[in-house]
């Protein structure tokens, strides 16, 4: 039975502590949450992502006040009401649009950092898996948001992506109609994606972010050398004042101070894009209102989906869908496909080093080919990149199985 001091003043430190354990919380989540010292700025990407998500949430709330989710009014509510009638509406919209694109850039940097340093192994599997679930839910959030301005690309991308659910030769057209609530994207479709975008997906994302942080707390953050650190022993050194000798630092304020600095640099870059270079995040095609009688000459997803789109494109309908499905789940399985016990930077891991850089270059190749029109030679390059992607993932268990142990640990 807990003890409650009857004389404690309401909301005083003691009163709060007895009810909420604020001191314990602060210790566990902040001042005695130990982070290795041996890190670089890439370790700040998590906080950069959290901040960008916050920016998306806040700007989204402002946009939600004026957005009208009907097929008749959606386009003008975004392009006229928000852009010219609402004070600083243009700013919120450009922030939201640019953040939606940049958040994926940071997600990819964050992911490839994890792959490079092997931060998905030996107790860190759930960090990786919850992170990939976040990637999937961010993708759904981005896609559903892209439907909302109800421009040509909203409409036709919605058409193409929902068509995928007919699963090729299975021709499950009934399922596609059930998802759309209509034969073609219409009011029911827009209302559903509006709900997904402003309620269900954000709830899911917030939950997953909490889970992602949770999975991080016990295994702790990895470090630049993949060194296994005895966090208790190193923490004792820190608490004893051996700031130089200890291999760890507290999350707050030491790690945070660097995070905030990196975030500052990031926000200079971010707002430069918002004010002077926002076009890349707002496709011109989507400034034509949705028109079911006029298919745009080129339909392509936003840049962050292009690599998986390009795995779909080079193949025949059914085979393409199978490899597309493969590409969607394969990253999730990384902790189990990498059979080497080594936790070390890719550059110290022999064949895995080549694997890592090939994967990165291959995915950039797929991304670029995914946007180019499917004509020669681009479609041939695309096919090569797609086969390379598949081959890389099939080869992964074999090359990591043969990997020699790194270091003495």
């Amino acid at each position: 039975m807990a003890h409650f001091d009857p004389n404690a003043k309401p909301f005083s430190h003691k009163w709060m502590n007895e009810r909420l354990g604020v001191d314990t919380l602060k210790r566990v989540l902040s001042t005695e949450y130990w982070i290795p010292k041996n890190i670089n700025f890439l370790w700040a990407m998590g906080m950069v992502l959290a901040a960008t998500f916050g920016v998306l949430l806040i700007s989204g709330i402002f946009l939600l006040m004026y957005y009208v989710p009907t097929t008749k009014e959606a386009f003008d509510s975004v392009n006229f009401t928000i852009m010219s009638q609402v004070g600083y509406g243009w700013l919120w919209r450009h922030i939201h649009g640019v953040a939606a694109s940049v958040v994926f850039l940071i997600i990819y940097i964050h992911m490839f950092t994890g792959i490079y340093y092997g931060s998905y192994k030996k107790g860190r599997e759930l960090i990786w898996i919850s992170g990939m679930l976040l990637f999937v839910s961010f993708s759904a959030e981005a896609f559903s948001g892209y439907m909302l301005p109800w421009g040509q690309m909203s409409y036709w991308a919605g058409m193409v992506i929902t068509n995928l659910f007919s699963l090729g030769s299975l021709e499950l057209n009934g399922l596609v109609e059930w998802i759309r609530g209509d034969y073609v994207p219409g009011q029911a479709f827009l209302s559903r994606f509006f709900m997904l975008h402003v309620l269900l997906m954000p709830l899911l994302i917030i939950g997953l972010i909490v889970l992602h942080f949770g999975t991080l707390r016990l295994p702790h953050v990895n470090n630049k050398d993949g060194e296994e650190i005895d966090f208790e022993a190193e923490a004792e050194k820190w608490k004893a004042g051996q700031r130089k000798e200890a291999k760890v630092i507290p999350f707050n304020p030491v790690f945070l101070s660097k995070d905030v600095f990196v975030m500052g640099i990031y926000f200079i870059f971010f707002f430069y894009l918002v004010f002077y270079h926002f076009e890349f995040a707002m496709d011109p095609v989507n400034f034509d209102p949705a028109d079911g009688l006029k298919t745009p000459p080129h339909i392509y997803p936003e840049w962050y989906f292009l690599w998986s789109y390009e795995i779909l494109r080079p193949f025949s309908k059914d085979i393409g869908l199978i490899w597309f499905g493969f590409a969607q789940v394969i990253f999730m399985l990384l902790p189990f496909l990498d059979r080497s016990p080594n936790v070390a930077p890719a550059n110290k891991r022999g064949p895995f080093k080549i694997w890592f850089w090939l994967l990165l270059i291959d995915m950039i190749g797929l991304t670029i080919m995914g946007k180019l029109p499917p004509i020669d030679p681009w479609s041939q390059f695309g096919t090569v990149f797609a086969y390379t992607f598949i081959a890389l993932w099939i080869a992964l268990p074999f090359i990591t199985k043969m990997e020699k142990p790194v270091g003495g640990k």
């Binding site: 010219s84 850039l105 660097k258 681009w378």
Partner: protein
């Protein structure tokens, strides 16, 4: 600095990706059309010199269909009746001399459909019997045109009878009127009447053109400036088979039209350019302070 090397790698791959999906991909997606800066090289100059006074005497050839409001000549029919007769409302010519190319006008009056590269059912018939007559009328139109037209006037003269610009409150039959609804019923009869007229006009226009020409409210964000420039200069060269005629604007005329399109398509541009530097300055100061905090926290750690 090791961290700067890592940053360089990240920036390098980011820029390669950006280059591939933006400038490079777009260069491959759209065929590049070289413009001629509204010189209309396919139209030969007539070589005759126009006389504005003669042109004034010949203007009845035009005012059977067109109005010239600035000279007190009203159009013989209103927009709706014109669209019933011709499919489209002929433009008022008050500003024509300021917006359209003189060489183009001279060729156009003699052979409208051919000069406009339009469909054979083009509404305007050949209206000048000789190059001299055409040159005289063109000189007259130029003499009565104001020295400077506003962007909106240029848009209305060159584009406004086929294209609406709803964000600019412009319709094919004129500005949306400022009306009041009846406070007892909530009805706005005058506006409803206007909408009926507009709907009727648009129906006629759509059957004349084959489809309703698009609203141009934010076309400046849907198409690049280069695209619009080359398209307006010679629609068939950019979009073969389009119903849009070549309208024959001058370079300055196009710049005015584009200024109008940008004002309705990107109305926040001025404010964006005003606010941008302050926001960036804020984050530069933020970053400097954060750097100070970071250095003080990490002092003596390594």
């Amino acid at each position: 600095m090791k961290e700067l090397k890592v940053l360089a790698v990240v920036v390098f791959f980011t820029l390669v990706t950006y280059w591939g999906v933006e400038p490079f991909a777009h260069s491959q997606m759209h065929k590049h059309v070289e413009g001629h800066d509204f010189a209309y090289p396919d139209i030969n100059a007539s070589g005759v010199k126009g006389n504005a006074a003669n042109g004034k005497n010949l203007i009845a050839a035009c005012t059977g269909c067109h109005g010239i409001e600035s000279q007190g000549m009203k159009a013989p029919m209103d927009a709706l009746a014109s669209s019933a007769a011709y499919g489209v409302n002929p433009p008022d010519l008050s500003n024509a001399g300021a917006v359209f190319d003189e060489k183009f006008l001279i060729a156009f009056m003699q052979n409208p459909a051919h000069t406009a590269k339009a469909k054979p059912n083009f509404a305007m018939p050949p209206s000048a019997s000789s190059a001299q007559d055409a040159a005289d009328i063109a000189a007259y139109l130029k003499s009565i045109a104001p020295k400077e037209v506003t962007p909106k006037e240029a848009f209305v003269t060159a584009c406004g009878r086929c294209h609406a610009d709803r964000y600019g409150k412009w319709t094919q039959i004129g500005d949306v009127p400022k009306t009041k609804s009846n406070i007892k019923t909530g009805n706005d009869v005058e506006l409803a009447q206007f909408k009926i007229n507009l709907a009727k006009y648009q129906d006629k226009l759509a059957s004349y053109m084959g489809k309703l020409p698009p609203d141009l409210s934010i076309i400046s964000r849907a198409r690049s400036e280069h695209y619009l420039k080359t398209f307006v200069e010679d629609p068939q060269a950019v979009l073969h088979g389009t119903a849009m005629p070549r309208v024959g604007v001058t370079k300055e005329g196009f710049e005015k039209v584009y200024a109008y399109l940008e004002s309705t398509g990107d109305p926040s541009k001025a404010e964006r350019e005003r606010v941008g530097p302050w926001v960036l300055l804020y984050f530069v100061i933020f970053t400097l302070l954060a750097y100070g905090w970071y250095k003080s926290q990490w002092k003596g750690l390594k």
